[in-house]
């Protein structure tokens, strides 16, 4: 957001804000301990609004649930903005002083009337109006989102649509006000912090910035390309074109996690060489030329991670890795050595101190301080700095410090995988409380909550197809077909289905791998599908 990629607030603030919006996030199940902070906020009197196609566990806590149609978030955001403007609830002072492009934005939302938004989102106009007023009138308000916003073909536009609302009402840069992506994986934030983004170096320093490049080049004694590298989706495209023929895959399981699984497997199988470094023999590892057994980072090695409130935290070794499994850092150093660079045997602290020397936002975070303070939130430029509770306070300085925050007009566009007579249902995907991503880790403990992967549909849909709980059906999309049992859940409505990708059912056979051109994320959240009842006899053939 406005530069460095990270949530603007700390968890503590959600306990003391007045209004919380969870947008495309079922934090109750996917970020349970963050939701504890939300609950504290609720008990302190905050109102909660949840925007989600499903009436999720989180939505059941909400003062207002807006059950949007899948992928209609931009229309909703723009309609909320229009409603705020119509009633004069925008923060003019903030807009005038701290933002750019307001007029353009104002014009862009004009056509998003409540009626139009109701038509697109399915949400009653009164509910949209209620949220617009509640958000604008709250003294403090925070919006948090997860993959329900970002796993769409227009993910970045959706995020921008949300940020626009914060700018419109001046709900950013103050305690208890801001916009926050909840990171789906434990060190997504840390990966970004460290520069695992195609055009960034550690601390979000741009590879296009010559001075930054020079600093790193000097430290590393190498040349850094100013060109942007490839995003994951671009790597697959490059495989398709024969341009990318070797892959080093660390702790990632794209066979299960990529959209359009058939294509992903085909391309990975076509590689000349693939090295997989992982703790277990994942579906991807089975396709690898070489598998490097890795230590379980969180408990068999030392280091740091960064969480969703930008807090850098220490990971510590408690047990020794088994067998020949080795610390990732050691493996990487060994490979470097074979590639002609001797990095010696750096400890985690050595590496971290190098980060601190090159990334100003991490400079003040010594291991000693991380230890004492239970971690520190960036930016933390020196060792006397307590770290940042929230970001962008500068927008409230008079005059504004640094660049103003620009509005960006964004337009709604329907999910790409359109529903039609042949594929009349929209499938959306997500996680459940007790399971995680591709199930590599969570598959190994005996969760009493776990049930088999199922296609979740509404009671109405089940009645329409004559389906009963547990009945196995064929689910097809324009790309593939899977066989799964049905689970009836009244959190869904007619025309909407839900699955996870935690288990053996290859859910992503169905999904579309068209990506958001701005983020490279696939539209996991919207797949047109069809449900076909199958006879008892055809079950044996269900081995797709």
């Amino acid at each position: 957001m406005f530069g460095a990629g990270g949530g603007t607030n700390s968890y503590e603030e959600v306990e003391h804000t007045d209004l919380i919006v969870l947008w495309g996030s079922n934090a109750r199940e996917t970020h349970p301990i963050f939701f504890h902070h939300v609950l504290k906020g609720i008990h302190n009197g905050a109102k909660l609004y949840v925007i989600d196609p499903r009436r999720t566990a989180s939505a059941q806590w909400a003062d207002g649930w807006l059950g949007v149609n899948v992928g209609s978030d931009i229309a909703l955001a723009n309609a909320i903005a229009r409603e705020i403007l119509v009633d004069g609830l925008e923060n003019r002072t903030f807009i005038d002083r701290a933002t750019l492009n307001f007029e353009e934005y104002r014009k862009s939302v004009e056509r998003y009337t409540l009626d139009y938004a109701q038509e697109i989102t399915g949400v009653p106009a009164a509910a949209i109006r209620e949220l617009a007023h509640a958000y604008a009138r709250a003294d403090r308000a925070m919006i948090c989102w997860t993959l329900g916003i970002t796993e769409h073909h227009n993910a970045v536009d959706s995020v921008v649509g949300i940020i626009n609302l914060a700018l419109l009402t001046g709900k950013v840069g103050r305690y208890g006000c801001g916009v926050n992506p909840l990171r789906g994986q434990n060190n997504v934030q840390g990966g970004g912090d460290m520069g695992a983004i195609p055009d960034r170096l550690a601390g979000f320093q741009s590879t296009a910035d010559a001075a930054a490049r020079e600093k790193f080049e000097k430290a590393w004694n190498c040349t850094i390309s100013p060109e942007r590298g490839k995003r994951l989706n671009e790597m697959f495209d490059a495989m398709e074109e024969g341009e990318l023929t070797a892959l080093y895959c660390i702790g990632e399981n794209p066979v299960v996690s990529e959209a359009d699984r058939h294509r992903a497997v085909r391309l990975l199988e076509g590689l000349e060489h693939m090295v997989v470094q992982d703790i277990s023999l994942t579906q991807t590892a089975r396709l690898a030329s070489v598998v490097l057994p890795a230590a379980a980072g969180w408990v068999e090695s030392d280091g740091t991670v960064t969480n969703s409130e930008r807090r850098v935290q220490r990971v510590r070794k408690v047990i020794e890795p088994p067998g020949n499994a080795r610390d990732d850092m050691w493996i990487v150093a060994q490979i470097a050595k074979r590639l002609g660079r001797d990095w010696g045997s750096p400890t985690a602290q050595d590496v971290w101190d190098e980060v601190r020397s090159l990334s100003p936002m991490h400079a003040g975070m010594s291991y000693e301080r991380l230890e004492q303070l239970n971690g520190l939130r960036w930016p933390c430029p020196d060792e006397n700095d307590p770290g940042a509770l929230f970001l962008h306070g500068r927008l409230w300085a008079d005059p504004v410090e640094g660049p103003k925050a620009p509005f960006h007009a964004v337009e709604y566009s329907a999910p790409l995988d359109a529903v039609d007579a042949q594929f009349p249902l929209l499938l959306t995907t997500g996680r459940r409380l007790d399971s995680y991503n591709s199930g590599v880790a969570t598959g190994e403990y005996s969760s009493p909550l776990r049930r088999v992967e199922a296609l979740e549909i509404s009671p109405e849909e089940a009645a329409r197809h004559g389906l009963s709980e547990g009945e196995i059906v064929a689910v097809s999309s324009r790309r593939g077909k899977v066989f799964v049992p049905v689970h009836i859940d009244r959190a869904l409505r007619e025309g909407l289905a839900f699955m996870t990708f935690h288990f053996d059912v290859p859910t992503n056979v169905l999904t579309l791998d068209t990506v958001d051109p701005k983020s490279g994320t696939a539209e996991f959240k919207a797949t047109a599908i069809r449900i076909d009842k199958i006879g008892a006899g055809s079950l044996a053939a269900a081995g797709d």
Partner: protein, 332 residues
């Protein structure tokens, strides 16, 4: 939120055992006692939960108060004069410990026997323990209708252990009804409300609705109830089974804090290991991401670390790979 920022809070002066102390306004008597290193027993108190002051073992004598007052929840007021070791205090503490010692299995409560000794408790005074209840009997007890005892044996809460899932067991013979699990399952942390206190009086017990088994209840297996249980009534299956097998040995255990490997919230996990195997996971109460509370994945989802595919571990998955032996060509 406990005490407001000490930088802003007014100071309150009080006397404890004739020693004067200043503490921030809003502190509890217990906090003041601890600041003076006065050894104050507690059972139902925990820093990260709202005090319920139900066990009454922390009571102290407050000048001007007809009854003793619970140190854990009573806020300090200027000029209070408090005695922590008067005859009345000693008797009440002795009796509370004796009541629990004679009706509950307190064998795993830390510090309990030392405190009993300190106050001269003798749980044997009430006679031999009555026969344990059959499974379900206490769950079905009806309010206001106890079966009067002839007093020849001492009533207890003994009953069979409840094992209805693979993650934790509930041994309510060890339950002192401190309410901590209910608080952790409820408003103080998890807000799932799978359990509550049911029934009344000595028949009061921790229960799901209609005492249904956990898999039929609202339980989401966050294990936060286990994390706060002071008596071992709630116990990880991993610990229960090792204790049962006689292999649980805290002297051989090591632990360290790390960060959960699942979602991006960044919960601090205290990983406890014995013989290089994880045996349980907790979270420190003073940690401001978790406040000591976790979810099912963080709490229980660590088995995968110990169930590695041997072929991967040997580096033999898709052919022999031991990095030390592999020659990787230098880039051209």
């Amino acid at each position: 939120m406990s005490v407001s920022d000490p930088g802003f809070a007014r100071q309150v002066t009080l006397q404890i055992d004739e020693r004067s102390i200043d503490v921030p306004e809003g502190s509890t008597i217990l906090e003041a006692c601890r600041a003076l290193a006065v050894d104050t027993p507690t059972l139902c108190y925990l820093e990260n939960l709202t005090p319920v002051n139900a066990c009454r073992v922390c009571v102290v004598e407050l000048e001007g108060s007809r009854t003793l007052v619970p140190a854990c929840s009573r806020k300090v007021e200027g000029g209070m004069k408090i005695k922590t070791d008067s005859e009345r205090v000693r008797t009440s503490r002795k009796m509370v410990l004796e009541f629990l010692g004679s009706s509950v299995d307190v064998s795993l409560v830390s510090d309990f026997s030392r405190q009993m000794q300190r106050y001269g408790s003798n749980p044997k005074r009430y006679g031999d323990a009555a026969k344990p209840a059959l499974a379900g009997t206490r769950d079905g007890a009806v309010a206001g209708h106890h079966h009067a005892s002839d007093g020849q044996t001492a009533s207890t809460v003994a009953q069979p252990v409840k094992i209805d899932n693979e993650l934790y067991v509930r041994d309510y013979s060890k339950c002192i009804l401190c309410y901590k699990c209910v608080e952790a399952c409820g408003t103080d942390a998890q807000n799932t409300f799978a359990i509550a206190v049911a029934g009344r009086g000595f028949d009061a017990r921790i229960s799901t609705e209609f005492a249904v088994e956990l898999p039929d209840s609202a339980c989401v297996y966050c294990g936060n109830c286990i994390g706060v249980c002071p008596t071992g009534a709630l116990m990880f299956s991993s610990e229960y089974e090792m204790r049962d097998a006689g292999t649980w040995d805290e002297n051989k255990q090591v632990s360290a804090d790390t960060i959960c490997s699942y979602c991006g919230v960044g919960c601090t996990l205290t990983v406890h290991a014995q013989d290089n195997k994880i045996v349980k996971v907790t979270s420190p109460a003073d940690q401001d991401v978790t406040h000591g509370h976790l979810c099912i994945k963080g709490r229980f989802g660590w088995q995968f670390v110990q169930q590695r595919d041997p072929s991967v571990l040997d580096g033999l998955a898709n052919g022999p790979v031991v990095l030390d032996d592999v020659e990787v060509p230098a880039p051209a």
